[in-house]
């Protein structure tokens, strides 16, 4: 018996060991190292000697550019989270009910998920929302006599948000539609039959009292993923807004700010690490808070 247990232990580590070692080395070690670095003045070095305590943290939180990047994230998620949620749920409800060409519609809405943010941003910046007159949106608006707009460089009103939000909306709506479709398929037809017997009218009433509550677990997951992904937005911001002159002073989300602080000219790795730690904490808090708020752990109790 004794031999068997240690045999199992050995085999456990044969299977799990390589993965666990890599995860430790490439996720946990960098995290701890950056916590360490965040307490030092680390310009262009990864083995600093100049301990500054919480100096990087206070400098970071006092830096207007950092706090305004958090504001940018807040505005961005205020747009993108409800918009993606509504569009992907709407698409799922329609695709679920349609009888002919269902697979075709699902493919078309899902296909943008195969596109990279780099390519999508390129299409949006250079063609769709190109600020010059041959941009498609300007062309279409021109047919109705609307003046051309320089979408990405207009800050009053901030038209650049329209460009940024629609890229992500187009790219990710189909992905979340697939999640909702899976959720819809799990709803028992008996519930609908029971609702019909009880006299619920098809359409809004059934959606409100059966479909929507039954999608609760999927909704929680979708909102959680949307917020976390919005927090990590980098690719489309960088590719839409930066040019040969650098990045404009507006619409800098946290990761863009971090990218330029830690890896830009100064290579201020201490500050960058402090920023990464603050962002990781914010994400953890947001995740836990959302999970509590929506009662993610409650499923077992039901």
């Amino acid at each position: 018996m004794r031999r068997r247990v240690s045999d199992n232990t050995l085999w456990f580590w044969v299977f799990v060991g390589p993965f666990a070692a890599g995860l430790a080395l490439f996720t946990y070690v960098p995290l701890l190292w950056s916590v360490y670095l965040s307490f030092f003045d680390a310009h262009n070095t990864v083995s600093p000697t100049d301990f500054v305590g919480f100096g990087n943290y206070t400098a970071m939180l006092r830096d207007g550019a950092f706090t305004s990047s958090l504001g940018t994230f807040a505005v961005f998620s205020l747009f993108i989270v409800p918009a993606t949620y509504a569009l992907s749920l709407g698409l799922a409800l329609m695709v679920h009910r349609v009888r002919r060409f269902q697979a075709f519609f699902r493919s078309v809405f899902f296909l943008p998920a195969a596109c990279s943010y780099v390519v999508a941003a390129l299409i949006w910046k250079m063609s769709l929302f190109s600020g010059v007159r041959f941009g498609l949106v300007n062309t279409v608006l021109g047919w109705f006599g609307v003046e051309q707009t320089a979408w990405l460089s207009t800050t009053h009103p901030p038209w650049y948000w329209l460009v940024i939000v629609t890229v992500r909306l187009w790219l990710q709506a189909g992905f979340y539609m697939v999640l909702f479709l899976a959720g819809l398929q799990r709803i028992s037809p008996r519930l609908y039959e029971a609702a019909a017997v009880d006299g619920a009218r098809p359409g809004w009433q059934v959606f409100r009292y059966i479909t929507f509550p039954q999608l609760r677990a999927t909704s929680v997951a979708v909102v959680l993923l949307l917020v976390i992904n919005a927090f990590q937005a980098f690719d489309e911001f960088y590719n839409l807004l930066s040019d040969a002159r650098g990045y404009p002073p507006y619409a800098r989300p946290p990761l863009v700010y971090l990218y330029y602080t830690a890896l830009g000219q100064g290579q201020n790795l201490g500050m960058g690490s402090a920023g990464a730690v603050i962002l990781a904490l914010i994400i953890a808090v947001v995740t836990v808070f959302q999970a509590r708020w929506f009662g993610l752990g409650r499923k077992e109790a039901d």
């Binding site: 498609l136 959720g183 994400i283």
Partner: protein, 292 residues
Amino acid sequence: MGVFRAGGAPRGGRPEDPLVRVGRALRWVILVALALLFLVPFYLLVRNGLSAERDITSPSWTFFPSSVHWSNVRELFDDPAVPMARSLLNSALIAVATTVGTLLLASLAGYGLARIPYRFANQVFYAVIGTLMVPAAVTFVPSFVLVSSLGWVSSLRGLIVPTLFSGFACFVFRQFFTGFPRELEDAARVDGLGYWRTYWRIVVPNARPVFAAVGTIVFIGAWNSFLWPLVIGQDRDAWTVQVALSTFTTAQVVNLHELFVAAAVSIVPLVLVFLLLQRYIVAGVERSGIDD
């Protein structure tokens, strides 16, 4: 369901409520309109990629180029200013290596966590789950620090190895193997196979759909990944296709037809993977939902 869907009227019997029919027609119109709208960006990609420069910048919109310029493709690969072939090769190497490596490492770990009794298995599992809470994008600064002190900047190693340990993939495999029917493995054990041979001979052949699901998602993610290759692939020779595209999108002088044909070429492998393996991707996306 049938009773209900027809809005009170039995299906196939009496004529349907006109309201229901209007609703269905409206749904069709909205779906078709949205589908067309969703395809516009792909249309622009192909239209501009096969146009002459003057057709793209022409003040009057032409829906199709006046003549189709397949020569744009050759021009792209002949242009010494754009390392297109090299960056495509880099992307392909990275995507394939990341997919194979991730599948191997994460499936072994997932199986071990699901099936091999070990006192601290739960603690190890929590350590894996914990990394899902810390998004990779937030750790790019510390990871860059680590990779640069290993001297791996601008190398394929640096681009591939740190991305091989996916907590998400391990989680999906672990959940799948936990629900895998034990009878098959028990039979193998009776025949005297140990964990290792049971895994390769019995478990893997019966788990192909999960491998396909996780593999396609990892492949797409690796091909499209941008921030990490931007940070690590600093030399031109280490550019992935995304970094190359980005460099030219954000450059001062832009050659539009060449840029668009490059972008179109860059998504061809993915569109193929996507259309051929879509059902696995859908399965993978469904598995990645936390609600299972």
